[in-house]
Symmetry: C2
DNA sequence: TTGTACGCGTTATCAA
DNA sequence: TTGATAACGCGTACAA
């Protein structure tokens, strides 16, 4: 059974009010009794109940972190950033998975509401309108990561998909490629379009004519398989370079190339997106666009703190960073 | 401002007691008023306060999941398993990182205690005696993952390091290797010894003499670099195969081999441990010992549920599974 | 400087 | 079938 301030009060022969004050260093309590009570609390192993405090103060110093699944290689670092800043500010994090299942999304939102979290951070690949409405009904600050939406309580931290994809494509163009393919993912409609736009903008700027055949949108599948299917871009359409929606897709393509004796990057250059851990470990190491995941998590939590302190905040669109490794090569090496 | 049962009571013209009962389907309330009140609650957007419920019931339906850092590639799947089972049972999960920092470990434990979590799951590479004592003072069921300790409230789920390492070594022996190296990690003293024991047991059983030169314990470093340093086993001591402490280490070795033009597996076979995501993506795909991470998480949470229901539980030692990929090859291929 | 009384939102006991 | 009251652990206005 946990020790309460009443228990301490009894032992000290004072009221629980005095104990409460003494423990929090209230100035109106004499230095001596304060010291005495604090010492007593220590001895008795007193730890205040956040539950009772929350009931009284109407804030829980708790936030909900909603993910589709924490097993997504993109997420752990984001969560790490969130948790770090949260912990430093005295907040604890509820981790909740929605698994992209509408039913679970509802229970997750309801649970968050029951738990009276002070704020919510969501990184879901899809925040449907229904889901978004549900979220907003909680009347609590919400920060979306990589998923802009409109709404009074909705704010966002996101990577600039257009800029990132353009950067990647420009890299390929600079080293001499002209037949450049794009592998999109229909399961991520929004950012897919943005990355496609970035790709097209780079081509246009370089005066390279668009060829619809070079844009490959595999049927919905897991990301890796989409990459495998994309080999046709090379086999049927003779692209010399491919920009993939993300690293997993790029690695899928990379793997198939190995199986088909297609040398990367000599025969085909490949660029990914995200810079997940595995990107540096595959062979050849993957050129990619890095998303500052740790920082995104930190920023999201900082934004939450600002919102809770009634400070005004601005949505952030972060640039992706080109990481050149060994999966891309000049088409005309010197 | 959140709706409370008192608000509903006012509107319905009854006491808050009646509302409380009606909402929970208490039999002593007339069917009609029950229906009426439930409907009213729905309309008013009532969501019960878990905080108030917890204060009264003295349980929070909350557990603490302590990790060193969620960015460790081993952990996400474990957490996924925990969260899944927890959610299905009506529990929510606090995710807390200790970063292997003694000071943070203390604050984490204290926070868990303040929050009055019903139980704790810990997967830390090191649960020092001090840390363990602190943990046990909370008087709450605790399940350790991959870290056996003794204590009244301490239980564990772990992979059988000895068996796993033996399995891996036997695989290498079976395909003809006799000069087999072992790369250990001093940062994980306990399981390091166990894996070493498994390695030695396999050699002994096969009648292969032990050679201390083939056991390499690099100075504490990050796991990847330890793998890189292990190249000396091949260069100086002519091993034809190496068992690495974990996949990251194995991938470090793999990467260095590529840089030194050492063909894997033709010149050197490599086996890892864990079967992290990246293991299947590297080239060549890594032969390794799989830890059933998702299942370990599920089992840990199930064990917690049993403990909370006063059921008796047994510590579990799970076998590792040999996953043969392409980083190992018979030394005398047919 | 200290204590009394009340409220936070919910459930449970007892009486009506 | 329903309601008044107390209790969970804590913080605070007000009184002493």
């Amino acid at each position: 059974m946990q020790v309460t301030i009443k228990d301490i009060a009894k032992v000290a022969g004072v009221s629980h009010t005095t104990v409460s004050r003494a423990l929090r260093g209230h100035p109106s309590i004499s230095a001596e009794t304060t010291r005495h009570i604090q010492q007593l609390a220590e001895q008795m192993g007193y730890v205040p109940s956040a539950v009772a405090q929350s009931l009284h103060s109407r804030q829980t110093f708790t936030i909900g972190m909603v993910v589709t699944t924490i097993a997504d290689p993109f997420l752990p670092q984001v969560v790490e950033g969130v948790e770090k800043v949260a912990q430093a500010a005295g907040y604890s994090v509820f981790l909740m998975s929605s698994h992209n299942d509408p039913e679970q999304e509802l229970t997750v939102v309801e649970t968050l509401q029951r738990r009276r979290v002070d704020a919510i951070i969501v990184t879901a690949s899809r925040v449907g309108s229904l889901y978004g409405d549900q979220l907003e009904r909680i009347q609590v600050p919400i920060v979306l990561i990589n998923n802009q939406e409109n709404g009074e309580f909705l704010h966002s931290i996101a990577v600039d998909d257009v800029q990132g994809a353009r950067l990647a494509t420009e890299h390929l163009i600079e080293v001499g490629h002209r037949r450049i393919g794009f592998v999109g993912l229909l399961t991520r409609p929004k950012s897919n379009v943005h990355r496609l736009l970035g790709y097209q903008a780079a081509l246009e700027k370089a005066g390279i004519p668009q060829d619809p055949d070079l844009i490959f949108l595999p049927p919905p599948n897991d990301d890796f398989q989409c990459g495998e299917l994309a080999l046709s871009l090379h086999l049927k359409h003779q692209v010399t370079a491919v920009l993939c929606y993300n690293d997993i897709t790029a690695i899928g393509l990379l793997t198939t190339c190995r199986r088909h004796q297609i040398a990367v990057p000599q025969d085909l250059s490949i660029v990914g997106f995200d810079d997940i851990e595995a990107a540096q470990y595959v062979s050849p190491p993957l050129t990619t666009i890095r998303q500052p995941r740790l920082r995104m998590g930190e920023l999201a939590m900082r934004m939450i703190l600002d919102l809770l302190n009634k400070k005004s905040v601005r949505d952030q669109l972060l640039p992706g960073e080109l990481i050149v490794r060994e999966s891309t090569l000049p088409i005309y090496p010197n």
